[in-house]
Symmetry: C2
Subunit: 229 residues, 2 copies
DNA sequence: CAGTGGTCTAGACCACTGA
DNA sequence: CAGTGGTCTAGACCACTGT
């Protein structure tokens, strides 16, 4: 019966949930714990590091480790690619391009993306359907200064998200959730009523400091984003 | 010039973002990388493990490590305690208890929380204010079968969230975001108009398999939940 | 079966920071 | 200054899982 970092982690966690180690109180140091569990210090270290990442405990050199008073619990959401999100539900995915137009970046967009000058952007409007029903409306702007090849891409076949992922694999992003109202136009796309509450996701992405794209995704009424932690 | 796990991690990441290692392609194994960077295998392992946690790469025994095709990007949200959320903005926090009543658990609640029988629950309604303005409306049910002492607690002084955290430090939770409409009653509490779109957070929590509480938090119109990743 | 990642060890040195 | 966590090492064995 040797202690693994998992067993150490779960034992410490249960000591905390059971109240043996109360919030705010301090926990034995790594050497002592390694001794208690009969394992190497590195094993305890990994267990404790993960607990700290999870926001359960707080560690400081010299001061030691304490159980957090106000647990900073974090939830992790998978940021889904629409196609996968729909197909995972066992529904058939369909995509359609509604509009594609080169524009000057409006001021609000330049501000959002921290664009230097009001350059050209490609404005795309798309719809995503699940089993034929409207699922998500996509309103997207792509920075043509960074991605001039976007103008030549055929977005009626490949969705802009998938195109972007394969063009710029990884980037920094800011994501923002809010509640909005469907206006008449949106209600038309989503086949709902104007005035219906809609869940909106906005995402801005940058690559090496340069704006890539800003997108506003609006889900059909009733959409929920769920996770466990 | 020795390689730390951070330097290894960021070097690998940049090789991926720069396109040296394309999505879907496979990465040298740990021993080779350790050799390349002139460090121990454990160092490479930690770098790679974190990249895998971040959803950048995918690792399988024997098959090796590959760059993910469809990056499962994840966003982490801090699940805030209202008080902290408000005070962090430099605003003054005020709390008030609107209603406190022992009820039989309605069916929908029993279903949500997987309650065995329709037991007694404590139904609380509270308001949270920032600088005197309505910030969040809280509609909460606490399982009295698990927490009979809740009935005796004085929730006009301590908010139920803070009380719960100090009573049951850690628990499993399901959290759910959605968009809703303010009804007349809610509009009154939040001093907005009926029909305004409101951002809603629902959270159910369990402790060792038993239902603890279900809460529906409704933010004043315009609220946004933002994060970076 | 053999290659790859998963984990553990015992020891070491370092970096930070509270007393 | 001294205690605690942060990280690295060199080596070992194990657990999975493609081939």
């Amino acid at each position: 019966m040797k202690a693994t970092y998992r067993s150490v982690k779960s034992d410490i966690l249960s000591k905390i949930t059971k109240g043996d180690w109360a919030p705010g109180s301090s926990i034995p140091n790594e050497v002592e714990l390694a001794d208690m569990y009969g394992c190497a210090r590195a094993t305890v270290n990994r267990a404790m590091r993960e607990l700290a990442d999870d926001g359960i405990i707080e560690r400081r050199r010299k001061a030691g480790t304490r159980v957090r008073e106000a647990p900073v619990r974090q939830a992790r959401f998978d940021i889904p690619i629409v196609r996968g999100e729909i197909e995972e539900k066992g529904a058939e995915y369909r995509y359609s391009l509604v509009k594609s137009l080169v524009e000057d970046a409006p001021d609000w967009l330049a501000a959002r993306l921290k664009l230097n000058a009001n350059g050209k952007v490609l404005h795309l409007v798309c719809m995503h359907y699940a089993d034929g029903d409207p699922y998500q409306h996509e309103d997207r702007w792509i920075n043509l200064a960074l991605l001039p090849q976007a103008e030549a891409a055929n977005f009626s076949v490949v969705g802009p998200n998938e195109w972007l992922v394969s063009t710029i694999p990884f980037s920094d992003a800011e994501i923002c959730f809010s509640a909005g109202l469907a206006d008449k136009k949106l209600a038309g796309y989503l086949t709902c009523n104007a005035g219906d509450p809609v869940f909106t996701v906005e995402r801005s992405t940058w690559w090496e400091g340069q704006a890539v794209t800003y997108v506003r995704l609006t889900y059909r009424p009733g959409h929920r984003l769920t996770t466990r932690y």
